[in-house]
Symmetry: C2
Subunit: 229 residues, 2 copies
């Protein structure tokens, strides 16, 4: 269960740090980060930052999940990424010199640490392995996003939903996919009604099973086949 206080969470005990950009930190690096950061508890659906606002630092997810999304002309959300424990959110804006182009909101109750921009950039400057990790991460995400664009442009909604469910299944390790229908639609890039109809199709085809809003994957290979790849 999550700690509802604002008590400091020591990075040295953070189970999520092992698969984060800070995994390679030595003890003194961890000390520096520990003294630089602040920790906070975020309730579900609480924003970390908003599009067009000025970046003040980076957010490190100790526990919980965060959606990163842009908005189209009519204000409809498009979820670009779902960040899980261990991920650092908002570090792209540290280097771009521009306001946020996306917003970030918690999807569930979360513990999230914050590192000031100056402190973060200082760590990047003085720590080559962190820097290289970041450049690698940026590059990989850029490549992923190229695929994302291609999928959006060429795949049908049905294919995208199948593909999305597999991705979400990995994100929700050891638990059922738990998103509102609207968020799921905004992740797939479709209308909520279309999403619901396709979910029903998948249920009929015994690819998935729903438990109220939660979704269980019954046949991952079948979904991959529908996704076409």
């Amino acid at each position: 269960m999550l700690d509802k206080s604002y008590r400091h969470i020591g990075c040295e005990n953070c189970k999520s740090r092992n698969n984060s950009l800070f995994a390679s930190f030595c003890d003194s690096d961890v000390d520096i980060m520990n003294s630089a950061k602040t920790c906070a508890f975020y309730k579900k659906n609480q924003p970390l930052f908003l599009e067009r606002s000025a970046p003040r630092g980076v957010y490190c997810i100790n526990e919980g999940k965060v959606k990163i999304f842009g908005r189209g002309e009519e204000g409809k959300e498009q979820i670009i990424h779902l960040a899980v424990a261990g991920e650092i959110v908002g570090f792209r804006a540290m280097f771009s010199g521009e306001p946020y182009t996306v917003s970030a909101t918690t999807l569930e109750d979360s513990n999230i640490c914050f590192i000031n921009k100056a402190d973060f950039l200082d760590m990047v400057d003085t720590n080559p392995s962190l820097r290289n990790g970041i450049m690698k991460e940026l590059s990989i995400e850029l490549a992923e996003r190229a695929t994302f664009v291609t999928n959006m442009a060429q795949k049908s909604v049905r294919e995208r939903l199948a593909s999305s469910l597999v991705i979400l299944n990995d994100i929700y390790t050891n638990e059922l996919i738990n998103l509102s229908r609207e968020d799921l639609a905004n992740f797939v890039g479709t209308a909520t009604e279309t999403l619901i109809r396709l979910l029903k199709d998948f249920k009929d085809e015994e690819l998935i099973k729903t438990h109220a809003r939660k979704i269980e994957i019954l046949n991952k290979d079948g979904l991959l086949k529908v996704a076409g790849g």
Copy 2:
């Protein structure tokens, strides 16, 4: 007109370098790059590199244009980016440690220089301003691509075409947009036939005018209005 030989093009004389990542280079930096690079003339439709192949270095466009594209399931191209003179192509793959996820092909006769991976990474290591420029560039492109995804997911083909034409108008400075209908369709993310029909609509609405395959923008504001934003 383009030089058809493989003669060396000195970076110190390269007009495109001023708006490139190498703009901040001092004379000695330029010397290093000059001795590290090789220059080559590429005919129209000649590939620089292919998806799934191993990155060997970066390509610097002295003159010409290059399309960067991925492929969907059925092999249909999706153009992710059009690179113009001054742009460095393929540097993301220098950091990702993975094979190319996209391909690059010239759209017209081009002069393109090549810098070996080791030499390039060496320059990045020893030149903080280049490094910062790259991190900034990666971050900005990542943000742009988020918008790209949102547009693909939420805008109609008509809106995307209008928006694409405005973007292309900037890319083809002082000349008419000159792409095959298929490339244009693959940039917008639609079928060639749909693209042609919409171009006709735009002609009827006097937003554009065609000269054989070339496209002239008559009413940029009108196109922006159609694009919705």
